[in-house]
Subunit: 362 residues, 2 copies
């Protein structure tokens, strides 16, 4: 085989507000590679199949001097994220040709040669699920939802702080605690909704389009609304108080949740997308309520929960996905050249579901 | 005995900012009572000895229509708080003449006749400690510090997230985790400092006067500063990161603690005095850090912790106070007529230590 173009998505400049396709990141075709002859130096050659585009990636588009929990992207180098690929050649005994692998630091390029295989794991796929599944519901978003729900929610089928809920009189069975899930149609939120329903809870869920609202209803949320057309405070005043808050938004929505919280409420801080394009700052005014209501607010990073929950995750979730008991949606885009636009869509919330870049067929 | 004047402190009007003595509360001498003949109707007659003035009382000075975790004071009625008294006469078999009792809803008056004895408990005082002790270090402030520290701090003598601390090279022994205690000279904070030192931690503590700073040093804090003359962010940048934050302040100080927090930090939300005289609202901007640093922020109300921790509290603390191993300070004012001024002093932080109203001798 002769050399082929090795397409790459490079980090080009630090954005001030929203990332700009072609400026923040650029699609580059200047590199070539010969897959048959490229030296592996004891490493592996991986063909990229599927890449994940996630909200948190905005946080890596910062000056290298600013510290955070994940490294900043390097100017001029490929951006990275969660991905799935197939091993084409291997000089590392841990991997063999045909193995499918995933990693949280998959470079955004067609072909990857790497000696350092830290973070690459062979995927066990006994249910023959599509590889994109391992980006979404069985990938980082799925792990995020599952592990933080298990670790922090303390979901109670019988509420320890029951409240009079006359508006629930039309339900035929008694309800457990109430959870409010933001970005409930997203890959994380939609799994949280389904885990909460399996735990017997009443689920209130919000999203930003009618299509997303419809999807949240389909997967079982009891109360769904479009936060762009309905005020969150109004819905929570009517359907609350809430015992658990799954926060992907921060800012005003977090204040609304504090107002609507029941005594002893648990807030699971997964993300604060309202702050990502405004310097990671959005004022929250009602924190005093954490005292009067004995609320706990817990932040987490999924990587720190993996050692504890990985085994239970892979035991529990793949069979439920294979049988269709857990539903999920994917929003698949074709080719590395779409990455810049998809990153922006995810920051603005205009994507329809878990955003996946399909880079190559298996 | 003929009728005597029964002095009372009445709630007179809802303040907008700081409470005003003589306007928010008034000292009233229009009621008389004959202790020998007043009808008890199956209840008790209690002589008030000591009353506690606490920051949280500002929260009860609100319109009755605004709900919160403690009831609003009633206009025209005596204000209430933690107090200690002695039973003068009793028609209730639970109490006998000479019993000393405390309650969190002690009315601010010289003599109390009550049939409803909910919340009144006989004080067990085997070490013959002064009754004022049961207002401060063995009263609500002491319970607040002890119970929340036990419940939430998870203090580690060997830090799970060790950091390079070159500035500690002059310490001869290795240090445990680091805690930052605000209002560290107050009745709650000063006990937190001592509990943290007993747990082997490095303690950073702040207060608002040189006298208070000196007291924090005396009770063992490693790093002390006056937040009015030294910037909190500067001290924390040099002496942090912090693993535990004892918050009595909220607002900007809470933001500074978020900036200085270590991975996995626990924030114990005891109070937010920076918000009490500005509508219980002070913006916090850096909450996104709870995610990147896996911070948990826990609010509590001491009453909800009592069932779990009361026994250990009374077993542990009184002997340590009696032996002098746990130090405490009291700021004693004489007579109910001083209550309005002392409430204001506590809101402004101009009192020197735990504010106690000495109402009558035993």
């Amino acid at each position: 085989m002769s050399p082929v173009v090795n397409g790459r998505v490079l980090f080009n400049s630090v954005p001030e507000g929203f990332p700009e396709p072609g400026k923040t990141t650029v699609y580059d075709t200047t590199e070539t590679i010969d897959p048959d002859t490229v030296s592996l130096d004891g490493g592996v050659l991986i063909k990229t199949l599927e890449l994940s585009i996630d909200p948190y990636m905005r946080g890596r588009m910062r000056p290298a001097s600013v510290k955070s929990y994940v490294a900043a992207f390097e100017i001029g180098k490929p951006i990275q994220g969660h991905g799935v690929g197939v091993v084409i050649r291997s000089e590392n005994p841990k991997f063999k040709e045909g193995d499918h692998v995933d990693s949280n630091s998959f470079e955004h390029k067609n072909l990857i040669v790497t000696k350092d295989v830290t973070g690459y794991e062979v995927i066990n796929n006994p249910h023959n699920l599509p590889w994109s599944t391992f980006i979404g519901v069985l990938g980082m978003p799925g792990k995020t939802a599952f592990m933080a729900w298990k670790e922090i929610s303390q979901a109670q089928k019988v509420p320890p702080h029951p409240v009079e809920r006359t508006e629930l009189s039309n339900f035929s069975e008694p309800k457990g605690e109430t959870v409010f899930v933001t970005t409930g149609a997203g890959p994380v939120g939609s799994l949280v909704i389904q885990l909460a329903k399996r735990d017997g809870l009443k689920v209130i869920a919000s999203a930003g389009s009618e299509d997303k609202v419809q999807f949240m209803k389909e997967i079982g949320a009891d109360v769904v609304f479009n936060y762009k057309t309905t005020k969150t405070t109004d819905v929570l005043a009517k359907e609350g108080p809430i015992d658990i808050y799954w926060d992907n938004v921060g800012g005003e929505t977090l204040d609304a949740a504090l107002e609507a919280a029941n005594t002893g409420a648990r807030f699971i801080e997964c993300g604060m997308i309202s702050t990502y394009n405004s310097g990671f700052s959005a004022p929250v005014h009602k924190l005093f309520l954490v005292i009067t209501k004995s609320i706990s607010i817990s932040g987490f990073v999924v990587g720190r929960l993996m050692p504890k929950w990985n085994e239970e995750f892979y035991k529990t979730l793949p069979p439920l996905v294979a049988s269709g008991e857990i539903k999920h949606r994917e929003d698949i885009y074709n080719g590395l050249e779409t990455v810049g636009d998809v990153i922006l869509a995810v920051q603005k919330g205009t994507n329809k579901a878990k955003a996946i870049i399909h880079v190559a067929d298996d």
